[in-house]
């Protein structure tokens, strides 16, 4: 899509995501999102999730992406589904996981467990709202209550593809968060005058903001690179290891950029930036959970480093 289409779509998405209590899946259907998505999966997904982050939206958009990547894995009757994401810091669900969708609106929940993928009835989960660090995030913690789920239901090989798709979406959402945090810090330091000049006129402040911008740009470029592998003609396609690696790198970089920019912003916005009335904390809070979901910057960086130490030869990720 060209720049003008992107602007128009971004406007519609902003309006849609700002509607209180919106069912994003239905609203996107009405917008004709399917067509936008099939024309340009990379551009559309990145745009949707960047706006999702900027709007601090809470929706089932991530589930839509992950479920689409899983494909028709159930094979049975069309049912409404959600995904139970592993707890932060864990690759699978042992007893409890994280829901982004409203479980009362779905029939089944797909659960990545130690030996594969399980499908459990939504009614069988015990769910509670999780306020925690990001109280406005509508995160829900759900506990498996029917004992051990049967991991044999679904083909686990699809999960890797779903995680990669989820990581690309989350990287875009984090970029939207980081972009906003940087804008808040720029606005504050430009307007705030101390010792007779705007504090953004001091070199240490300017350099922090410039470095934050560079990390964010790197994240955007890497995400483009991660998408380029998905439909590359000579590549291995969306199931390939290269594609998964690239998505991991993009999510890790998005997390690093978020961590760096939020650390600077919390310092540069001074005391007011740490108050409840200021909007900075809401983006810092949301970013922290998004960084953790499907692997934090720290974990993913460690994983990639460990593979490289084992002699793994990574894909180029970005080609000319």
């Amino acid at each position: 899509m060209d720049e003008r289409d992107r602007e128009l779509l971004a406007g519609s998405l902003r309006e849609l995501l700002a509607t209180p209590g919106v069912d994003v899946t239905t609203a996107l259907d009405e917008l004709g999102w399917d067509e936008v998505l099939s024309d340009d999966p990379a551009g559309a997904t990145t745009l949707l999730f960047t706006e999702h982050g900027r709007a601090l939206a809470c929706s089932n958009a991530l589930d839509d992406v992950v479920l689409a990547a899983l494909g028709d894995v159930g094979g049975g009757e069309p049912v409404r589904r959600a995904v139970l994401y592993p707890p932060i810091g864990s690759p699978v669900v042992a007893t409890e996981g994280i829901l982004v969708s409203d479980p009362t609106r779905v029939d089944e929940v797909i659960v990545p467990v130690l030996d594969g993928l399980a499908v459990v009835s939504a009614a069988g989960l015990s769910v509670r709202e999780a306020a925690g660090f990001d109280p406005d995030g509508h995160w829900r913690l759900a506990r498996l209550s029917d004992g051990e789920p049967d991991p044999g239901c679904l083909d686990p090989t699809h999960w890797g593809r779903a995680v990669a798709a989820g990581r690309r979406a989350l990287a875009a959402e984090l970029n939207g968060i980081t972009e906003t945090i940087l804008a808040i810090a720029i606005e504050h330091t430009t307007g705030r005058v101390q010792y007779g000049r705007p504090i953004a006129g001091y070199q240490s402040v300017r350099h922090r903001l410039a470095e934050g911008h560079a990390s964010l740009e790197a994240s955007r470029s890497l995400l483009e690179g991660a998408w380029s592998g998905v439909d590359r003609a000579d590549g291995e396609g969306p199931d390939g290891e290269g594609c998964a690696w690239a998505a991991t790198a993009a999510k890790a970089q998005a997390g690093h950029a978020y961590l760096e920019v939020s650390r600077h912003a919390m310092q540069l916005c001074g005391a007011i930036g740490l108050t409840f009335e200021h909007r900075l904390h809401r983006f810092v809070q949301r970013g922290a959970v998004l960084d953790g979901l499907l692997g934090s910057a720290r974990e993913l960086t460690h994983q990639m480093g460990a593979r490289l130490l084992d002699g793994y030869r990574p894909p180029t990720v970005v080609d000319l």
Partner: protein
């Protein structure tokens, strides 16, 4: 084989052209792998030759081989002995050489920064010199910095004055330049000198293309802390240069400089990041213990290198499409500098004893590369200057210190 590529539009090459070209080059690399082993090795730093001159001569033979086979001609104008096609083809060649563990000759760094800006500006000079430069028989050096003018290049004092009246009169250059990379092995220099008043700052500068065998020119080596003579200083004592060797306009040297610096962000950054990926690959096998700290540090260095690659790819693509790139590419330089430091710190921090005491050629090579990595955030506009440019011209922050 290379004749096929003449059909390419000089302005750009389509993704299909690039993919086809890449596949062809990979096949050639496979076919010639035994001969290419001379430039390959897991620990090339250990196989370093005793002097920079010998290394460059060795590297020059690879450039000659690539030129003869045609791959070194791709992406250069047909009029200059090249085989046409977009500049992206050159980036593909450099990328593939590193990916096949072939050590890139030092000359490529000079070639990729200095020849591309002359393609549009001075096709006559490119036609005359490109084949020698790109086939490893010649090298050029940038003579911009001075002892009193580093990142603040507009304060430079080397003078160029007309010897006589009229637009055809020769210039006589007097002054001193410093920090030119590979200067002792170079035959030509880009010299930025003051033709305006001492106060004229960037408005009174002119860029010259100067043969270094011109009487009155003296080149002396400067060794980095590692002992390797990567750098040089150049002295000018009434060095005569004809008006025909002005690059761009008289007093328009700043514009020529900006034109050159675009390529330092594009192709140069691209070849450095490819080199860094390779260095990381070389550093990793000897890291012990393979604990969490090592994994974290290697992963972070890898991500830095990948970020520099992704960013450089964007800029190379834009330059290849004929776009002018500007202040936003200071981001590329910031990312590349971070990657240079992170990658070369892997050996220093994860093999500390070997790095400090190892007396093998390999460790000496790593120490040399480490010192060079520190230089990369100083030359071409120091890291601080790049952050300042991003702050001013990309983020549009209030001016510093006002």
């Amino acid at each position: 084989m290379i004749k096929e590529y003449v059909k390419y539009d000089p302005a750009s090459s389509s993704p299909q052209d690039v993919a086809e070209f890449r596949a062809g080059f990979r096949e050639w690399l496979r076919e010639n792998r035994t001969e290419l082993d001379r430039w390959r090795g897991r620990h090339y730093p250990g196989d370093r030759l005793p002097t920079l001159e010998q290394e460059m001569e060795h590297g020059g033979r690879l450039m000659a081989m690539l030129w003869e086979a045609g791959w070194g001609r791709a992406g250069w104008p047909v009029e200059a002995g090249g085989s046409g096609g977009g500049s992206v083809l050159r980036a593909v060649v450099l990328d593939e050489l590193w990916a096949h563990d072939i050590e890139l000759p030092h000359q490529y760094e000079a070639l990729e920064v200095m020849a591309p800006p002359l393609v549009g500006l001075r096709p006559d000079l490119i036609a005359e010199h490109l084949s020698a430069f790109a086939s490893g028989r010649q090298c050029w050096v940038q003579a911009f910095s001075e002892p009193e003018a580093g990142s603040d290049i507009a304060s430079l004092r080397t003078r160029a004055r007309r010897d006589g009246e009229g637009a055809d009169a020769d210039f006589l250059i007097n002054g001193q330049k410093v920090w030119g990379s590979l200067g002792t092995c170079a035959q030509y220099a880009f010299v930025l000198a003051r033709t305006g008043t001492p106060e004229s700052r960037h408005r009174g500068l002119t860029m010259f293309f100067l043969p270094l065998d011109t009487p009155g020119v003296t080149v002396r080596p400067i060794a980095l802390a590692s002992g390797v003579e990567h750098l040089s200083e150049i002295f000018f004592d009434d060095a005569r240069v004809p008006a025909s060797l002005v690059l761009g306009e008289v007093d328009g040297g700043w514009a020529t400089l900006m034109r050159i610096l675009q390529y330092e962000r594009g192709s140069y950054a691209w070849l450095r990041q490819a080199m860094l990926t390779r260095r990381l690959r070389e550093a990793v096998p000897d890291v012990h213990p393979r604990d969490d700290r090592a994994a974290q540090q290697v992963g972070r260095a890898y991500l830095h290198a990948l970020a520099a690659r992704a960013q450089a790819a964007r800029t190379v693509g834009r330059l290849g499409r004929g776009e002018t790139v500007g202040a936003e590419t200071s981001v590329d330089k910031v990312l590349l500098g971070q990657a240079e430091h992170a990658v070369l710190d892997v050996v220093r921090e994860l093999r500390p004893h070997a790095f400090l005491f190892g007396d093998s050629g390999e460790l000496a090579g790593w120490r040399d590369l480490w010192w060079y990595s520190r230089a990369t955030t100083v030359f071409g506009g120091a890291a601080e200057v790049q952050r300042g440019i991003v702050a001013d011209r990309v983020l549009r922050l209030p001016a510093e210190g006002v």
